[in-house]
Symmetry: C2
Subunit: 637 residues, 2 copies
């Protein structure tokens, strides 16, 4: 049997394929990860690959591929891996874009952080101590400061209180060696031995919904381990506004909200330290980022005035405070650095996003969208940065969705619907029996329903389609994604009309914010060279599905870059370098904040953005073209 | 009847006296306070006054006066007020030295503090705040810092954590006025109104036995009120060494010792604030002084190594820490300043003594003795200062004395013994029925017993004297000061042989320390221009009785200056002026510490100093002369 050679980038995996086999067959055999939730039937459209060379060795573009791929993309070499079959002998070179990978894989790619030259705020110095004598009974402080001046040329050192109290424990040993931990001229800790090899830091991203924590080695810059958790404040209110309301009603409530989140950070740190065989006391520096409300609450500052016009924060500049002031259980002398914030609703997380994506250093127009319960948007025209925030709600994290859930075991994370019989297919997290739908799943579902004509562009479910999957319950239309027999529950998993409304509101908020910022800078979608999608949802969502529903301006999907938890990355970078902290201050100072609520176009833009993908098809020409193809092809099938 | 005129200085009181009346009669009528515990019988010798002019109008010196007053003093105009009677017409001018005043009165005199130009570390500024607008939603911090820069020319202000948390509460008011509390470039607190008139500070002297606290107005420098209390650490050990032992045995013990003393300071502050209608949150600065062990424990630093050679402290320089670090309940953003210490057993209290007596600025030889359970001694030869400390024990505070008690209601504070019949007289605190003997009483008693020959110069009670006041109980000799019928108790109040041994040990320790320091500087008693006696005991003791037992080098009593709680005075001065704090650092750095235990003369000096007043009468010529006169006159009477 005749063989061709198939090579996959960026893995660099290469192997034989027989004539008649598809690219997906080759990928599967070589262990190259390509998403193909419909099992290679050409329906889900997720296995898009780019043929870099050897296009002529593949069979002609199938009608199924015409539906999923635009003409422009076809010209650039896009194919569906399940449809493109080898027809000739030779070498075909296939690039698998990150958006065609299975979610888990994508995160790893996205997790890579921008490298920064190490210049941590905290450094350790090991010195040899003289012994006091009766003739010269110098104090411990004098002996230590003398040693630092003589051996390390460190002068004018201030001794922090926790270090002072600790000092006596560093003496009386035979070898007379001590390691001091210094932070900006302050001696914050002292160990009675050479501990210079053990210098650790904590970076935390406090989201309204989720906490992400990272333990770093400050000597090498390496991430040792990470951990994440839901934000336990959710019990006090899911969205930012309800947290503000709760925290503002009494000092105790504020303390409670602060207490639960700090306790959780302490637990994450404790767990990471346990894994890494690090004593929490060896963690000598921390950087914390979060949106403005999380920032204020974590620092113990009331967010009360963030909830009232003019939504002014208490402090915008970076804050350095002693970790014990907020109850963090790490080195008792350590400080916490909070990156600066930009405005009442654009916080330190957005600054961290900018830092890690380096959007400020690009000289081309670019968009950064950090999707969460609150979504931050930063846009650059290549010279200046402007930012806004929008209340996108928890729908993309599974909130306010009938069967919504987080991307945990059993969550439906990918969905496709066969346009011919309206039967669905799906993939769950961990391959477990389905329990609900997570954010990326609901977006897939809505996009598929749209592509199959189950919903109209105004979001209304066409309930008179003849399919057993579509029904009305209590007068509300819904689409049955999984029959209860196939779930672990006693109910069908459905997508309801109300779910679709939630998605419309959420995507309209994000699109409107992006759109208004772009028009402020005179940018059109075609001008955008890069869209950074940040946040867990942004990492897992199918970018084409997101585009289909009109979540962000229509650009070619290869201009979309998944940056994962960019806020966490920025926090890690600031942990590793004081230069980054200075840069962050500069960015926060110069970024222009746009208050969406007061924009004259807001109402109109929002109303138009409620449509899928938009009221004006000209704003989404490629997507509109594909939807039109779908509908026109479904008829004759 | 013919009248003379008598005038008293420094009161400036003046009035008529008849011929035949004594100076004491005149003083009593004019309300001039003169101590005369024997009721004017010429026995107690406490009513010594100096005749400034008109000596010729007074009758001849009586034989009783010859016993109490040395020849040199007679030449300088000393008389006993009860013996000196008017014999001529004219004006006689009498000076009543402070040592002849009743104790209470003396404290007032001694309490006067050296004035310092006000230059407090903490200042308040009232500014008018702009309001944030939607167009320019500046943070509270920015608005406040802008106002400070514009209105007060204060730039580069750091915002402390407690102030930051407090900031939001300062806005939202109609008048937009806020008062910020600044300390060395740091904004430590903010009030949402004009609070500039209310600026208070706390000065605390933490003694091993007693706490003294002062509430000051930092705008005027006035002491508003003061309070004192026993040091509750006494429950954990009376002396410094037992406190060190207790605190060193575990971290919890250290925390307990720190906790009880801080809690007591909080209570004193709370009480003072209550009296003065001040909110503890309005107390924005504090200065704390104490001996090195108290210093370490108050700051939460283990005193473990102060108990072991080479007795090195953990820190000698001044310490500034946040009041909440040690649990002080005052303005949450406030700092506490601890004056520097000199050595393991010469603490910040000694530095405060130097500050308030200004012994460092005198250009003549002077001695400073701050008597307590631990006694600090500082000596100047007019150029350099040297210091030591000695474990004088609690005898002078009533400790380890059979009927010893503190100078509370019913404590015998003055004693005399009639040299002819050995019957005693006494005065109690508050004039109440006697309950015990306080420090000044026991010194008076021992001096009187010595003068009457009841004890020998080696301290042994001459138990075969025929007096019902002298008896043996369980084989130990004792002198009955008060019969039980005259007390509130079921027992006689006595002075035992063991009590006298305690006094010998205590006075020998102090005298030896003083003597060794003097010999280091090549000074003899005659060179000393001034002896500052500090501490409560030093304030109340009869200086002549103290001299009689040989507590300090023999100088003319008019060279003795009672400075009361000089450590507390120094703390108050440091509270009022950062210049004083700088001066204190300089003093602490240049003062030379002498370790008595390693002095080659120590044993010998101590053994000699165990005698009353000293083994070598030539060291106390005036006192020896008087004792000799006493003994020679008692015989024939």
């Amino acid at each position: 049997m005749s063989k061709a050679i198939i090579a996959f980038t960026p893995e660099g995996k290469k192997g034989d394929v027989s004539v008649g086999e598809t690219v997906l067959d080759g990928a599967n055999r070589l262990g190259v990860d390509i998403s193909a939730v419909c099992g290679g039937r050409g329906i889900c459209g997720k296995c898009r690959v780019v043929v870099e060379s050897g296009r002529e060795l593949l069979g002609p573009v199938s009608s199924l591929e015409f539906i999923s791929i635009s003409d422009e993309e076809l010209r650039r070499g896009y194919r569906l891996a399940c449809c493109a079959a080898l027809v000739g002998i030779g070498t075909v070179k296939i690039n698998v874009p990150s958006q065609s990978r299975v979610g888990q894989q994508r995160l790893l790619v996205a997790g890579i952080q921008t490298k920064v030259p190490l210049n941590p705020a905290v450094r350790k110095y090991t010195v040899k101590l003289a012994k006091p004598t009766v003739a010269s009974p110098l104090s411990d402080v004098e002996i230590l400061l003398n040693a630092l001046a003589d051996q390390e040329k460190l002068r004018r050192v201030r001794v922090g209180y926790e270090a002072l109290v600790r000092l006596p424990h560093s003496k009386g040993r035979e070898d007379g060696v001590a390691t001091v931990t210094m932070r900006e001229g302050e001696l914050i800790w002292v160990d009675p031995h050479d501990s210079s090899a053990r210098n650790f830091g904590l970076a935390v991203d406090v989201g309204s919904t989720k906490l992400a924590a990272y333990l770093l080695d400050l000597n090498t810059g390496e991430v040792i381990t990470s951990a994440s958790s839901l934000n336990p404040q959710i019990a006090f209110g899911e969205d930012i506004i309800s947290r503000i309301t709760y925290a503002s009603s009494s000092d105790n409530n504020l303390k409670r909200l602060q207490g639960v989140v700090i306790a959780r950070i302490n637990r994450l740190l404790h767990d990471m330290c346990g894994q890494a065989h690090v004593d929490p006391n060896e963690v000598v520096d921390a950087v914390i980022v979060g949106n403005t409300v999380m920032h204020h609450i974590c620092l113990g500052i009331t967010p009360e005035f963030l909830g009232r016009s003019p939504y002014a924060p208490v402090v915008r500049s970076a804050v350095n405070l002693q970790s014990r002031n907020i109850g963090l259980r790490m080195c008792p002398g350590a400080y916490v650095h909070s990156l600066p914030i930009i405005a009442g609703f654009v916080g330190a997380d957005a600054v961290a996003d900018v830092i890690s994506t380096q959007i400020n250093d690009l000289d081309v127009p670019a968009v950064l969208i950090d999707i969460g319960t609150n979504t931050e948007i930063v846009i650059s025209d290549g010279r200046k940065l402007i930012a806004c925030s929008c209340a996108s709600g928890p729908a993309f994290e599974g909130g306010h969705i009938e069967h919504g859930m987080r991307a945990e075991l059993g969550a439906i994370e990918e969905v496709y619907i066969d346009p011919y019989n309206l039967e669905p297919g799906y993939r769950t997290v961990g391959g477990a029996a389905p329990r609900g739908i997570c954010g990326s799943g609901i977006v897939d579902a809505v996009a598929s329903m749209l592509k199959c004509g189950i919903i109209r562009t105004d979001g209304v479910i066409v309930s008179d389609l003849s399919s057993p999957r579509i029904r009305r319950r209590n007068g509300v239309a819904e689409y049955i994604l999984v029959h209860k027999e196939d779930t672990t529950m006693a109910r069908d998993i459905v997508v309801t009309q109300d779910d679709i409304r939630e998605i419309q509101l959420a995507k309209a908020a994000i699109f409107t914010g992006t759109s208004i910022l772009m028009s402020r800078l005179g940018l059109r979608a075609a001008d955008i060279e890069q869209i950074f999608l940040a946040g867990a949802f942004g990492t897992y969502v199918d970018p084409l599905s997101a585009l289909t529903i009109g979540l962000y301006p229509e650009v070619s999907v290869d201009r979309i870059r998944f940056v994962g938890n960019a806020a966490g990355s920025g926090a890690r970078m600031a942990l590793l370098s004081v230069d980054v902290r200075l840069k962050a201050e500069e960015i926060a100072e110069h970024i222009e904040y746009v208050e969406l609520a007061t924009d004259k176009d807001f109402q109109h833009e929002f109303a138009q953005a409620m449509y899928f993908p938009h009221k004006e098809p000209s704003r989404f020409p490629m997507t509109a073209e594909k939807l039109k193809k779908r509908v026109s092809r479904r008829g004759p099938a």
